[in-house]
């Protein structure tokens, strides 16, 4: 299959690969997907007390588009507030990376991943977990 230049770039030069210590109070960790489904993403956000994403890391088991979606999203969230991160839609990722319809689930997973990371961070701070909300697949086209 043909991959877009951006997917190829993120696959070949993934940004922000790695892990933060999970138990740090300012780190939120989201692990989404399942090995038997062929993709698992671990997204971690380091968030300041005033709710701004300082840094992000990812590790992904999945196809090139899954790797690219998670790599891209780690760039996207940096400097954004928690509320802004929560407003990110998978359709934005689809558009940015020109994902074909069969790869939309990769973008959904990336959206779920950052939201799960925020939920984890909020939980650590004793804030009520946000309403359980997973991404709705949209094509962005």
């Amino acid at each position: 299959m043909a991959y877009s230049d951006k997917v190829i770039d993120h696959y070949a030069n993934p940004r922000n690969v790695g892990s933060f210590a999970k138990d740090e109070p300012d780190v939120g960790t989201g692990i989404v997907g399942a090995p038997e489904c062929g993709d698992v993403m671990k997204l971690q956000l380091k968030i300041s007390d005033d709710g701004v994403v300082q840094d992000a890391r990812f590790k992904t088991f999945g196809c090139g588009s899954a790797i690219a979606s998670s790599s891209y999203v780690t760039e996207l969230v940096k400097g954004k507030t928690v509320d802004e991160v929560m407003a990110i839609k998978n359709s934005h990722i689809v558009q940015e990376l020109s994902l074909p319809p069969v790869k939309i689930h990769c973008s959904v997973l990336a959206e779920d991943g950052i939201k799960a990371a925020i939920a984890d961070w909020k939980k650590k701070r004793g804030e009520p977990a946000p309403k359980e909300e997973t991404a709705e697949a949209t094509t962005g086209r």
Partner: protein
């Protein structure tokens, strides 16, 4: 290595042997006659070529020339064998026995017959190496069984089925025996007599011949096999398959058969050596990789390996040149292999063959099929070992599963959030 990179996907198709091309060329040019034209030298010449080819093709599987029916390829051969038998013998019975690991050309043909209410089909399971147990075939046969269809060598994992034992059973029970031998013919000996095979599907392009030509062996004696044709017309090929013969394809197919027959022992040994070099190289370089299929009873050129914690399509992307869409000669040479991960399919279901072996979906997603053949070299194998090992290490550094496994987390006990 050619300009497009290293080709190790010889189960998908094989390159045309230059000697085959040379044999075919006159039949695209001056020797253009219709083999069915009985009234002039143009037709006689074409007929002579086709009949000589029929002899050569038959010889490869120890068949009689007149029992070879030309088709467009193995998919058509499988359709003709299964649909043709079920239709013709409908007064005798309507039960077919096959296996879950068969090629889609067999499975989907069986499913189509079931949907139309024309047949009931038993799909036999296989052992953990992908092999059919002949005893299961015996037990599955009923007084309504008209056909047993079991492949020779599997296209994904290369496992070879015990055809001779299955043939003894079907002969004893008086049931017809079809084998889709597409992957094995030309690579390993096939003998329709000693194996008691009544119908055998073959394809030229899997054995360094041209695409678009294949054959179905249809036994004419002891027992005489009858078929209802799928394609009606001028009554060519004993009425089993009408249509003007593809003479250039047939001549190429025969040349491919001849080359395979003459060189079989040496080539099997050489390709097996390359396969083992590849297997040993990969297993020496990488931990947590697993062989899929039978350790011994498999095609010499087949290697199917799961690289735990690395999704197959992402590995293909690192190997196949997707990331270096630049002029040939720059960047690493692309490597052509395939994966049992189905990340590109609409269902997102990994290989049904690996599933039939009991390989978990998690490992099925990490499987890569290497298909070695006539034109591969030891240098190519060494290069592929290095590249694959490099890409697997790189992708494992990116893999949360590898990290978790190294931390001692049992991945089976994790509660995953499924998408």
């Amino acid at each position: 290595m050619n300009g497009k990179g290293i080709y190790m996907d010889n189960h998908a198709t094989t390159p045309l042997d230059p000697r085959v091309l040379e044999a075919m060329l006159p039949y695209f040019g001056e020797t253009f006659g219709n083999a069915a034209s009985r009234s002039h030298p143009f037709g006689w010449e074409a007929e002579k070529a086709a009949e000589g080819a029929r002899e050569e093709i038959a010889r490869l599987v120890n068949a009689k020339a007149k029992d070879i029916v030309f088709t467009s390829g193995a998919t058509e051969s499988d359709n003709l064998a299964i649909k043709g038998v079920v239709e013709f013998y409908k007064d005798k019975g309507n039960h077919v026995v096959t296996a879950t690991t068969e090629h889609k050309a067999v499975l989907d043909t069986c499913k189509a017959l079931e949907r139309k209410g024309l047949a009931t089909v038993t799909y036999l399971g296989v052992d953990k190496y992908g092999m059919v147990d002949p005893d299961d075939v015996r037990k599955a046969i009923t007084d309504k069984t008209v056909l047993v269809s079991i492949m020779f060598a599997n296209n994904e994992i290369g496992t070879i089925n015990p055809l001779a034992e299955i043939g003894r059973i079907t002969r004893e029970k008086g049931v017809l025996f079809h084998s889709d031998a597409t992957q094995g013919v030309g690579k390993l000996p096939v003998d329709v007599e000693s194996m008691h095979i009544d119908l055998l599907s073959m394809s030229a392009h899997k054995m360094y011949g041209p695409k678009g030509i294949g054959a179905l062996y249809v036994r004419a004696k002891n027992p005489r096999v009858r078929l209802t044709p799928i394609i009606d017309g001028g009554g060519h090929e004993r009425g089993f398959r009408s249509g003007t013969l593809n003479v250039p394809g047939i001549v190429g197919f025969a040349k491919a058969c001849e080359l395979c027959r003459v060189g079989m022992a040496d080539e099997a040994q050489r390709v097996f050596g390359l396969r083992e070099r590849l297997r040993e190289g990969l297993f020496a370089q990488l931990d947590e990789i697993f062989l899929n299929g039978h350790p011994v009873h498999r095609l010499p050129g087949n290697l199917n390996v799961s690289f735990a914690y690395v999704e197959g399509e992402s590995l293909l992307m690192g190997l196949n040149g997707s990331t270096t869409p630049i002029a040939v000669g720059q960047g690493p040479a692309p490597i052509a292999v395939s994966s049992g991960s189905a990340c590109t399919s609409a269902t997102l279901e990994p290989s049904y063959v690996l599933k039939a072996l009991g390989v978990g979906d998690d490992l099925a997603h990490t499987s890569i099929r290497f298909g070695l053949g006539r034109f591969n070299t030891a240098d190519e194998v060494d290069y592929v070992v290095e590249r694959v090992a490099h890409e697997v290490r790189r992708l494992r550094d990116l893999s949360p599963l590898y990290e978790m496994a190294k931390e001692g987390i049992d991945l089976k006990s994790v509660e995953w959030q499924r998408d």
